[in-house]
């Protein structure tokens, strides 16, 4: 179902993170530095609005590492449009993204 979604700072950052190669939930949390409780609700809202789609990662990868498959997120065309609008709205959005250090969870 598609719904109108406001472009907030949080949703902008999450979109940016997914575009920049952080497709998994916890990685988005690490990369964006947003409060832990904000990221997943934003992901849900974005997915419900049709800005993103998600799927389970390939099973072989996960089985090799002996863990369950993670859910990864991808931007749709509408999502890319929304991201562009967000970048226009929030200057310096690009610079917010940090790099998670190896040891962090």
């Amino acid at each position: 179902m598609t719904r109108r979604l406001n472009i907030t700072y949080a949703t902008g950052i999450v979109l940016l993170a997914v575009e920049h190669g952080y497709p998994f939930g916890f990685d988005i949390m690490d990369a964006t530095g947003l409060p832990d409780g904000t990221v997943y609700p934003a992901l849900r809202r974005l997915e419900e609005a049709g800005m993103m789609v998600s799927d389970w990662e390939p099973f072989e990868e996960a089985r090799r590492e002996k863990r369950p498959p993670r859910r990864y997120y991808r931007l749709t065309a509408a999502g890319h449009q929304m991201l562009a609008a967000a970048k226009a709205k929030f200057r310096g959005l690009e610079m917010v993204l940090g790099h998670p250090s190896p040891g962090q969870a």
Partner: protein, 896 residues
């Protein structure tokens, strides 16, 4: 996950349990997706952490936080299921997860909308919970908190304290196999020399086994041990605070030498911070001389022992009892000899009678809290009346009665919890007030704190309170249906059941208030009786100063005599001083030393263990200055010199017990250690309550100082208490006395300086504190009960307005109406009083141990309580009753 469940570490399992619980709150297919997604992230993170990361508590904490916030995701998933783009009225949803937070929000709103009610209810609860938490903190710190020694319940104390001799210690050590070690200790101190004068530092003198018995380890260096208590032993243990005060830092303590009057001492170690060593306010520990050939059999030591592993307190008590029985038989002592010696756990010994008093206070404050709770229940009931329409509407729209009950309970619990938190904050001030009120020598007073235990108590009790407060109104409200509500509206809203409930609550309040008032009345009367016990001397206008010079400066008794003679002359010259004399130990404040006595015309008891009497060297004017009553014979005079015949004056009790046939004057007795020659009894003096107003007077043997100096000098006890009779207020002379002593001898320390009136007052401070606090609670309870009664009568009158107006219109006089309402109210009061009296009599037993010469069920007190209650109830009922009589019938009828 691949790991079998049992191999998963607990942190991981905890996270998974939390996620599982959250998933259960999510409806349909979303639950499975949520769970799988989160578990996958969790597993990935856990793997990535590696073994090193898992040990890092910071990393684990971060993970916990992250998983905890999964609830936001779960919340979102739930809500988007419910709504289709806009929020619906949550009142009608049966979903459970939002419920609690929703209830809480509504509860907050509800309380905010009625600020008057909230303020009164909150304040009442906060005060009640604050007082309860304060008293709880004090009780926990003093009574319940275990002593900070290893296995403290294995340490026993010998009773009575300060009444054993070194010889007895050796005997018990040898013959009581129940103990692995027994030690002796006595309260004392040492004079630390410094520029600017001598500083008296308090701390016990102990035998070598002392620290073995307590079982504590030093913070630095070592503690005193057997061998330190021999002649020449100059070891010393200090508290860390003392060292820091002295040198400003805690390093380099061990091995330091400190100059004391009586010789240098070497610090061998320090105590752990805050470790108590049985004497209150102790800052150092010195060894007690325990020489094998020491002849001294003075009975002034306190004994403590640690039980051997596997031995019970009871078998130790039995062993001691058997030992004492053997001695009684061997020496032919009277049947009651040795019966007062007992073994009790050290904690009970230290805390003693204070325990019962404190527990009484705790019970009283909880009862008062209960009454306050009932009052808040009244308020809530009144308020729920106003909210009836709201309740009925919700009920009609489908909210289950269970839901409504939960809502109301949440409100009550919220109110109570807020009250509990406020009460916890109040308790900080409350505890400080209590510490100031309680006597300074209350055992373990310094261990009282407001800590997490207090917070836990506050929250726990407030939770129970909230539950109680909410229960009645909630159950009543929930059973409403629309029809009853509409019908009740025309009658002013109170069903018969509600009226009965409120009446019942008032009766309960009155009953509790009566019980508390009775207890307070009994304790206050007891305290007054105790206070008026004649001490045996005249304390008003008597000032006493204990002077302790350095014993080095005296080598002969003449020097000692001259020293004190000159000091007494100087003090006599002070303005307002009528007479000056000396005494060995200040009555009531100190006990002094006990020695064995026996008649000269009977054979000496074996084993040097004879009935004990207090040895009391006094100046010749002591009887006169102190205002004691001579009953027979003469006082000491100048003709009783060191070289003349040794004389003694007995107190009434000693004379009666030693010479039961009478005519003690002229007879002789032996006092062990004091004199090898027999003492001739030259006079009998009235009893002095030397050990306390509430206790029987001990046997006392007075001796002139002139004949005791040799002994005192021998043992190096050169201090003395100079006592002055002063015209006017003795306290005024305090600094003048200090100055005089300092002029006479700059190196002498004044150990104690107080008027005898304040010595007596301090000895009663504990009883006074308890009766004061209990009166405070009782008066609060009475006022709360009055408010409750007033409230009930007020609303009763309001609801009966129509009926009353009709009666008025039909010719009833306002007097009749007044009487009717008044009798109703007084009837409630009377019923409550009956229950209250029954409760008071039942609880009277517990008070028996606390009261002095009074029966808890004393009818005069109960009558007084009933009288007070009648007056208060009359006022509380009278006002609504009077208003009932004045009701304007036209107005009342028109408003229907």
């Amino acid at each position: 996950m691949d790991l079998p469940k049992t191999r998963q570490p607990w942190s991981l399992r905890l996270c998974r349990i939390w996620l599982g619980w959250l998933a259960a709150r999510i409806p349909d297919h979303r639950a499975e997706r949520f769970l799988k997604e989160w578990e996958a992230e969790l597993a990935y993170t856990w793997q990535r952490l590696g073994s090193r990361g898992r040990d890092d508590p910071g990393a684990r904490l971060r993970l916990f936080c992250r998983v905890f916030f999964a609830w936001r995701d779960a919340w979102h998933l739930r809500r988007t299921h419910l709504t289709s783009g806009r929020k619906r009225n949550d009142l009608l949803s049966e979903s459970t997860m939002d419920d609690f937070l929703l209830d809480l929000r509504f509860a907050f709103r509800g309380l905010r909308k009625a600020p008057g009610f909230t303020a009164v209810a909150l304040l009442t609860l906060a005060l009640g919970l604050g007082a309860s938490t304060s008293i709880y903190s004090v009780v926990r710190g003093i009574v319940w908190q275990p002593l900070p020694y290893p296995e403290p319940d294995r340490i026993l104390a010998f009773e009575p304290r300060s009444s054993f001799s070194k010889e007895e210690l050796r005997r018990y050590q040898a013959e009581l196999s129940s103990f692995q070690s027994i030690a002796a200790w006595v309260e004392g101190g040492a004079k630390l020399l410094a520029e600017g004068g001598a500083q008296y530092v308090q701390g016990p003198e102990v035998s070598g086994e002392f620290f073995d018995v307590l079982g504590i380890s030093p913070a630095r260096g070592r503690l005193l041990r057997v061998g330190d208590d021999r002649r020449g032993g100059d070891g010393l243990v200090v508290s860390a605070t003392f060292w820091r005060q002295l040198r400003g830092q805690s390093e380099g303590v061990v091995g330091q030498r400190l100059p004391f009057a009586g010789g240098e001492r070497v610090v061998v170690g320090t105590l752990p911070d805050g470790m108590p060593v049985l004497q209150r306010g102790a800052r150092l520990v010195t060894p007690l001389l325990m020489e094998e050939d020491e002849q001294w059999t003075g009975h002034y030591l306190s004994l403590v022992g640690r039980l051997r592993p596997g031995v019970s307190t009871r078998s130790a008590q039995a062993e001691l009892g058997a030992l004492l029985d053997r001695q009684r038989e061997q020496n032919g002592y009277p049947a009651d000899w040795g019966r007062s010696v007992a073994l009790i756990p050290l904690q009970d010994h230290l805390v003693g009678p204070v325990r019962t008093r404190l527990l009484l206070l705790l019970g009283a404050v909880l009862l008062t809290l209960l009454i306050a709770t009932v009052n808040v229940t009244h308020l809530l009931l009144a308020r729920s009346l106003e909210r009836q329409s709201e309740m009925s509407l919700r009920s009609a729209l489908g909210a289950s009665s269970g839901r409504l009950v939960r809502q109301l309970m949440t409100e009550a619990t919220l109110l109570a919890t807020l009250g509990g938190i406020l009460g916890y904050l109040f308790a900080h001030a409350g505890v400080r007030g209590l510490i100031a009120l309680l006597p300074a020598d209350t055992p373990r007073l310094e261990e009282v704190t407001v800590d997490l235990w207090s917070l836990g108590f506050a929250l726990g009790v407030s939770g129970i309170t909230g539950w109680l407060v909410g229960l009645a109104p909630a159950l009543k409200s929930a059973r409403f249906d629309l029809r009853t509500a509409l019908a009740a509206g025309s009658r002013g809203g109170q069903t018969a059941g509600r009226k009965r409930l409120r009446a019942g609550l008032v009766v309960a309040e009155v009953a509790l208030a009566v019980a508390l008032l009775s207890a307070a009345g009994v304790l206050v009367t007891s305290f007054e009786r105790l206070r008026s016990v004649p001490p045996g001397f005249v304390p008003t206008g008597l000032l006493t100063a204990t002077v302790a010079p350095e014993k080095q400066r005296f080598s002969t008794t003449e020097e000692l005599e001259t020293y004190y003679g000159e000091l007494e002359d100087r003090l006599a010259a002070l303005p307002g001083v009528e007479s000056v004399t000396s005494v060995h130990a200040v009555p009531i404040h100190e006990t002094g030393w006990r020695m064995g006595i026996y008649r000269a015309d009977r054979p000496a008891p074996k084993d040097r263990m004879a009935p004990l009497a207090l040895w009391r060297p006094v100046g010749n004017e002591w009887m006169a200055t102190g205002g004691l009553t001579m009953l027979a014979g003469r006082r000491f005079s100048a003709m009783d010199r060191a070289e003349s015949r040794p004389v003694a004056i007995l107190n009434e009790t000693a004379a009666r017990e030693l010479f039961p046939e009478g005519y003690a004057v002229g007879q002789s007795l032996f006092m062990s250690w004091v004199s090898k020659e027999p003492l001739e009894v030259v006079g009998i003096v009235g009893d002095v309550k030397a050990t306390g107003l509430g206790l029987a007077a001990p046997r006392m043997v007075y001796r002139p100082f002139s004949q005791s100096l040799a002994k005192l000098l021998d043992i190096g006890f050169v201090q003395r208490s100079l006592t002055m009779r002063v015209a006017g207020d003795p306290a005024v002379l305090a600094s003048a006395v200090r100055q005089t002593v300092s002029d006479h001898d700059p190196e002498a320390a004044v150990l104690f300086l107080q008027s005898m009136d304040s010595v007596i007052a301090e000895s009663l401070a504990s009883e006074q504190a308890v009766s004061l606090l209990l009166t405070l609670f009782a008066v609060s309870a009475l006022m709360l009960g009055a408010v409750g009664l007033y409230g009930v009568m007020e609303s009763s009158v309001k609801e009966q307005r129509k009926e009353l107006s009709i009666r008025l219109a039909l010719g009833a006089s306002s007097r009749q109406l007044f009487r009717r309402v008044l009798l109703h109210g007084l009837g409630l009061g009377a019923l409550g009083s009956v229950f209250g009296l029954a409760l008071a009599l039942a609880l009277g037993r517990t008070l028996e141990t606390l009261v002095f010469e009074i029966q808890p069920g004393d009818p005069k007190i109960l009558a007084a309580v009933l009288g007070v209650l009648f007056l208060v109830a009359a006022v509380a009922t009278g006002v609504p009753a009077w208003r009932a009589g004045r009701a304007d019938p036209i107005v009342a009828l028109r408003s229907e």
